[in-house]
Symmetry: C2
Subunit: 275 residues, 2 copies
């Protein structure tokens, strides 16, 4: 058990997602402290900021050190109000808006909550359309619009294709379909016929057989499908097939959805349209 | 047409997603400049950094101002290499790691790519499980595990329930099901029977009828389903029903998925488990 405890607050005038992400990136660099994390979103007035202070100070009493506050607050008054809490505060906008103003030669609009808002309807529709595309083209249910796909993920059942496709759609507005590789494909040692016209869009996911067996066991315990030997066989065959057919692939075992998605965007030089 | 153009690079030793988010938050504060955005992920060595410099400098020649580089680079050598590009650079870690070290009284591990990695397998499984939950409990297809849901979204068809549930799962590891409100429910003016035991978990989404009609038209043009008058009727009835039954709800028309998801977390005081 770590001896030191801290409560970390992510305070934002918007959703708090940016503050969480950057704060979390920083916290992963520090070991030996147990961080309790609390997000306080939509803090867009001095009154709301003042309501947060009590919560922040209260948390400080229960920890070995004072709370850490990571904030993305556009409005300087709101920021100053939060600063009155008995906490260590780092605001992610404060240090950057001024130098950016100088560099760009324009004034910041200091508008609250612009990030993660639905302001840019066109960009936003890209994302929703891409999510719908992923859902409609999941697990080979339809190959109808494969021509419109930005990427088509292939791999054995439960290798991580579906969450990756959904993430590509939600985060980046990229249309990703997925198609399973099944034992019949290995018997023929050929790519499924439906994929032939789209070879250049294919990207493979592989996975450690032990991990695959574990995941499949949750779904169908004691099945041939989940059996470790069968998983070993399927993974080996799938990797052999992808290598033979010249399909690029990554092993998803130790990679996050974000890392896999980002790798795919980079490989296919796809534009990130999500924002 | 804006006269000024700039190319913005998001450079990271990881996926680049954090750099994009914070950079984008900052850019939304500046109007009148046309920003072309390029993400350079997985820049985890000086050699890779040097390969980026050419691309950054090249972009500068095509814009009216020098490129802007937003980076999240843990390694100081990689950061210094990028700094040799002819660009305006803001690193999101540089200014924060030192003060955090001082505050926490521990040294940063300076480990590359920790954010958005699959390091914390338990947290990570939460997310995958939650995505699978959302998929298995989409659009009322199954009510089997509603007892395990953190939230159940209700609303008329195409009001934004599915993308919100998927986002809650992918981003926050929160299990969200969704269930449609259909004309039969309005005739009875009662919540669907299946939802009765889970009243406290219900959260509604409404939408402007004009927007709803537009979205439905893309799916089924010239249908009664997509007809504006019908959409007006359904939305009015749904809002009446939710108000009558004391279900909290938001209008999704001008809200992003992130904003809706964040509002739901706040309303139900749900823990964000995604990281």
């Amino acid at each position: 058990m770590p001896q030191r405890t801290r409560t970390v607050f992510f305070v934002s005038d918007g959703t708090g997602i940016t503050a969480e992400m950057l704060g979390h990136s920083l916290l992963t660099q520090f070991e030996g402290t147990d961080f309790t994390q609390v997000t306080l979103p939509f803090v867009d007035s001095v009154a709301k900021a003042e309501a947060c202070i009590g919560q922040i100070n209260e948390a400080g009493k229960r920890s070995t050190g004072r709370p850490v506050v990571f904030s993305t607050l556009v409005n300087a008054e709101v920021r100053e109000a939060i600063r009155r809490a008995d906490a260590f505060m780092l605001d992610f906008f404060e240090g950057f808006l001024d130098p950016l103003e100088a560099e760009l030669g324009t004034r910041s609009t200091y508008t609250i909550g612009r990030s993660h808002s639905a302001m840019d309807q066109k960009q936003y529709r890209h994302r929703i359309d891409a999510v719908n595309f992923a859902l409609a083209h999941d697990d080979g249910v339809s190959t109808q619009d494969f021509a419109k796909a930005d990427a088509i993920l292939i791999g054995v059942s439960r290798s991580g294709k579906t969450p990756t496709c959904l993430y590509l759609g939600l985060q980046f507005g990229v249309k990703a379909a997925n198609y399973p590789l099944i034992p019949e494909d290995f018997d023929r040692m050929q790519l499924p016929q439906a994929l032939e016209p789209y070879r250049t869009k294919l990207f493979g996911l592989s996975i450690a057989p032990e991990r695959l067996s574990e995941i499949r066991c949750e779904r169908r315990p004691n099945s041939h499908y989940a059996d470790l030997e069968n998983c070993r066989h399927e993974v080996k065959q799938a990797e052999f097939l992808m290598r033979r057919e010249g399909v690029r692939w990554v092993n998803s075992t130790t990679k996050s959805i974000e890392e896999i998605a980002s790798t795919i965007l980079q490989e296919f030089k796809l534009e990130r349209r999500g924002y």
